[in-house]
Amino acid sequence: MEFAPEHDVPIPYMQRTRDYYLALGYGNPYRWAHFDDVPFTPLAKPLTQARVALITTAAPYQPGVGDQGPGAPYNAAAKFYKVYSDTTETVPDLRISHVGYDRKHTRAEDPNTWFPLAKLQQAVKSGRIGALAPRFHGAPTNRSHRTTVETDAPELLRRCREDGADVAILVPT
């Protein structure tokens, strides 16, 4: 009987990040959001009849703010700070150079790895889900907990309701 290697476990990102910034000379370790209660809403209808919202942390490509990939270095100028929405009828040009993905082992060459809109369109065609909401929504990431909870999350809820979404799929980078 042979076990998997000890390091073959989900990466402990919180510990890695804590150690990383301490090594860089930043004290006062970041406090990650942490709750003891978790809300839960059962589905009101089967997915075959449900209208699905898609929420992403990817950014629309912006000409003039530098290299946004594939394979771009971290590009803070490509960040966005307000919730945005766009149609789900076509697939937009979204990039992830503004966030900290694994740049050593992946190059952000295939947008389908962080934005499954094309696959969701197929799921509508095949009848797996009832429909897509008319818009997908972009969530800003370089925020305090408070801004996310008090500004961005309520705005996303408002837009999901406006679109008549029954359920939401959230895909971070």
């Binding site: 989900p10 990102y13 990650w32 942390t57 960040k79 082992h105 992946t106 969530a139």
Partner: protein
Amino acid sequence: MCHQTVSLIARHLEANGIPTVIMGCARDIVEHCGVPRFLFSDLPLGNSAGRPFDAESQAATLELALRVLESAPAARTTVQSPQRWPEDASWKLDYSNVARMTPEEIAEKRKEFDVVKAVARSKREGA
């Protein structure tokens, strides 16, 4: 940070009557926050929806997320996708791992980070 942001948003939507599922690659951050439903893919950050140029992997990832969404029995349901990154698991040792960095690399990263922070700050203040 992306994983924490969407975790907070999922909680808010769910508390207001919209069932959610998160598709992600950072298990500890999402579970530490506490979310209703989570499909965890043990792949490098950036591949929450499946492996690059692998339509089958992406379709299987979405299908599993949909199944988690429709069948989770309670909050804090995490399902781990059976998919693996090609080759071995040594990629997991690299990400932000100070144990693998020289003092020169650390000094260089510090410089880069200060620049990035300044850019983000000016952009945020202008937004």
